[in-house]
Symmetry: C2
Subunit: 137 residues, 2 copies
DNA sequence: ATAAACCTTAGAGTTAACACCAAGGTCAAG
DNA sequence: CTTGACCTTGGTGTTAACTCTAAGGTTTAT
């Protein structure tokens, strides 16, 4: 299988596949005489692993770690794998909390502004941001 | 006030102030003979506005838009201001939803892995990512 | 035999919000 | 008069995950 075929099969770009190769996520199984990358079922499976890891939120770096473990599983423990997962989970939760804080502030601001066509001279959003005490009132 | 003083007052770096100037968020009120940036109360207030906007989640670009409106409020409407706010709110909510999806998947994965010291040969996290049908069972 | 479709490498561009650095000018204190 | 603290410009580096370009070689179909 050449790079274009694999890309079409997976719904990614050939650039992406070359990028993953550069970043040690996926190497072709061989090269043709003319230097074209060649892939087979093993690579297809591996890309599916990568894409699934991406779906659940792992970064490419984290996915790469998981792949390292996957290639010789018996040299690694469940502890490691779960560690990576929990660490990511922490990060995701922290980011959610931060965004929820934004969400709260923004919806509070939006609720108080009439949103009408009249001039913004007394817009409560602007005044809330101007006031030193922008959180209350 | 020179740039260092203003920076100390606000708890930001002088680099940040110069960066904001480059990006049209805050210009000094004047320059000294020797070319030093000079700021006064107006700039202090404006920086506080910027920092508050940042606190509620606005990007610098969005903050810049808000500042444009603020400088001549009567040429703009509440509608515009609320529009920016609601648009941001949408974005934040979308991002939260995406992260919550990750959170769900990750916690499901973590829950099923024993996390023990034994080899990862049968780690349910890895097998879940390997299986085409990684979401169920 | 030639055009279309495919492939190669190497490198630059994108976005956000700065941090850091070099080389040099300025200003107050001792 | 010389440190040391401060300031200037202009530039590069950071992170993530690609995307795009240039300049060229290969394959396949007509
Ligand atoms: Zn209004
Ligand atoms: Zn309003
Ligand atoms: Zn286990
Ligand atoms: Zn496990």
């Amino acid at each position: 299988m050449k790079i274009g075929e694999l890309a079409r099969l997976l719904g990614v770009s050939t650039d992406t596949l070359r990028y993953y190769e550069q970043h040690n996520l996926l190497s072709p199984s061989a090269r043709s005489e003319s230097g074209y990358r060649l892939y087979d079922q093993t690579q297809l499976k591996q890309m599916q692993f990568i894409l699934r890891a991406k779906e659940v939120g792992f970064s490419l770096k984290e996915t790469s770690e998981l792949l390292q473990i996957k290639v010789d599983k018996n040299q690694h423990s469940c502890e490691e794998v779960k560690g990576i997962t929990l660490q990511k989970l922490e990060l995701v939760r922290a980011r959610i909390a931060e965004l929820q804080c934004f969400e709260k502030s923004l919806s509070k601001l939006a609720k108080r502004c009439c949103g009408g066509q009249e001039s913004a001279d007394f817009c409560s959003i602007l005044t809330a941001l101007e006031d030193v005490d922008g959180t209350h009132k």
